[in-house]
Symmetry: C2
Subunit: 462 residues, 2 copies
Amino acid sequence: MSVKILLEESEIPRQWYNLAADLPTPMQPPLGPDGKPISPEMLAPVFPMNIIEQEVSQERWINIPEEILEILYRWRPTPLRRAFFLEKALGTPARIYYKDESVSPPGSHKPNTAVAQAWYNKQFGIKRITTETGAGQWGSALSFACCLLGLECKVYMVRISFDQKPFRRLMMETWGGKCIPSPSTETNAGRAILEQDPDTPGSLGIAISEAVEDAVTDETKQTRYSLGSVLNHVMLHQTIIGLEAKKQLAKIGEKKVDIVIGCAGGGSNYAGLSFPFMADKIAGADITIIPTEPTSCPTMTRGPFAYDFGDTAGMTPLLPMYSLGHTFVPPPIHAGGLRYHGIAPLVSQSIIEGLATPRAVHQTECYEAAVLFARTEGVIPAPETSHAIAAAIQEANKAKEEGKEKVILFNFSGHGLMDLVGYEKFFAGRLQDYPLPEELLNKSLLALKDLPKPKVAKSGRW
Amino acid sequence: MSVKILLEESEIPRQWYNLAADLPTPMQPPLGPDGKPISPEMLAPVFPMNIIEQEVSQERWINIPEEILEILYRWRPTPLRRAFFLEKALGTPARIYYKDESVSPPGSHKPNTAVAQAWYNKQFGIKRITTETGAGQWGSALSFACCLLGLECKVYMVRISFDQKPFRRLMMETWGGKCIPSPSTETNAGRAILEQDPDTPGSLGIAISEAVEDAVTDETKQTRYSLGSVLNHVMLHQTIIGLEAKKQLAKIGEKKVDIVIGCAGGGSNYAGLSFPFMADKIAGADITIIPTEPTSCPTMTRGPFAYDFGDTAGMTPLLPMYSLGHTFVPPPIHAGGLRYHGIAPLVSQSIIEGLATPRAVHQTECYEAAVLFARTEGVIPAPETSHAIAAAIQEANKAKEEGKEKVILFNFSGHGLMDLVGYEKFFAGRLQDYPLPEELLNKSLLALKDLPKPKVAKSGRW
């Protein structure tokens, strides 16, 4: 059998899958500062209305516009790969498959939603999109998408990453995006922070505040803001990953998947792969679904299910999600994309239901897994992706112990060519596992006490 | 029509094409220090005999071992892409296609021969391979190949690149290769240089000397040296590129290619794409074949056809090739892979025959082409590759002027994600076109006078 399973362009999924339609308990709404549900109209200065409609949609299937597919065809359908060489190295009876999202020009799954969001903004007459980026994967994906669609793109990049990761910024600029360090002097939010602390390294929370302010204060009303994870419409756009994977497994006669794994920061690549399989699980299939996260930022495994802000400054609506508290600052692990205090509401609700079983993994175990993967499968993983690989290896070893021929599927969310510094530290023996900063966490969790509480609504079916 | 034309694994070419079998005048042999032809046996301490046999083979078609194909399947067949968006931006009636060799895990065409060479070495009982690398593309490809085949790999990397490009070194180390700066204290050649000049930035010539010395002085006789370009067997292994492209063009009914373009440093990616089309030209087809090079290192457009050394120190056999003289040091353009004084003997002889028409392009024109390409096609090119893109754009513009529907094919030899510094300089307006250092060139060419002269043998058919 082949190491890679391909689909023809004609076989690409033509609809996205919306998990909200199938969850046994309905999603709880985002809340405003007054504790009342946010209406679609209230979001209109931030997002275009066609995207807001997707955000609140209860439709199970949503058509993918042909013009979006035309752009996705540049790298989609992506290969599903059989990890023969990793299997052999592990001596496992498990069959391990991975969906290779690293083949997009920006090198990750992020363009799946960047292209869709840019297209919907353009349809709505928007000329310019703002966003924030931490390590730079999202900023480069949105710059890429805006470039292909002829939109302006402005990225507020956390200052410390801006200084330390010039190559991500250069990717954005090569695609015509404008990338500036945050906090900047271009927004009230940025200026206020700089006045207090001119040498601040910045944070994702500050960068979100700046990008949102930039969008809503544009007097021409032709600018909107874009978010690369967490929200329902982002999860939706990523489901093309899992829908393709199902077709690919069917193509080679692989009838049943036992375990589905994805790393989860905001949750989008994990949701993209797993939600179509979760639909099968809701319909009765026996599938174990594992979102993996860093032990040093254990949102799903340690956080409560709470209403919390999406940003540090508390400017966004309150979202019902697992959260470590919006002031929690995770230790500086290399998987920057997983250093987020919350997780997507859809991911959260499916965990409440018992549809998924989160798992936390230590940084050094992840790098060990990443190096084994690079030396067997040949592709160098992003630090975020290594969390999925580590869990897949744990499951493959368990299958070996049990002598079971399990089928394991994980998402290879991105390559690590822009993030090799962590590997250097690993090889030099300078990579560490950070203990969870318990005191900081407790302080951060305290702040949740004053916020509204979501219902822990659970059907009890799983 | 689709933006990408794919082949099934079952459609992969199963033989390499050897241009030597079809050139109307026979290739002239490499010469030893005494001016006499080098025999295969004399090369035995440097290369395994199965590779030496390929080097001197006159067979037109050479079977690709199944085990090599099994490794190539990880990323091959590579896509052929129609550059619709670039065409549109140029407003050209030409149809532009590019073969995308950037999809290999190391990001370039280099693994095509790295895997083959590592496999033949392993077959011959070799346990360890040495090589040199400049910018790092070849070193990372050979590390990758050795890793997959379980061989040790030692890379002597030019010191200035070793210091300036830590990420390429980290790629090699992630694949288990050992990479050290050259000159090193591990060889006589390295120690001698360091004694003279402890602060030397190193050079490709020095690194070749060290890698060869390392291989031939291994007392266990289980080490050999590997070269990533120039030699006949390297060109051979790369012809899979052009053979695939021909199948892909046939698949979409594109009956005739008018222009074939590749950038050429040592010549391997250019030869890989063009040689199978050159076979058609030899058989009577009307095809224009254009190897492109930097104006600041104009080997093919300014150099004489001469016998010259492959390395700066004059340790290799003399090869019949276009050369600027082995002491020529090209200006520090960003396309490090094109900063070589010579060009493959097979490429040279086909130019003598009139089968190919070399062209030199300035650095800034190349970066303009690269940015236009990134912003239309979406993929960021390597600086070397931008030389092929620039020539393709020149030809597309010419087709527009002439109002002709020409078919242009070029090789997208690698992505630029590891080489974004040149883009930064370009955007900042700090990128320059270097004048050819005429005095240096004249001095370098003088040294050729004392070496044997090849016959300028020419059939006169083109």
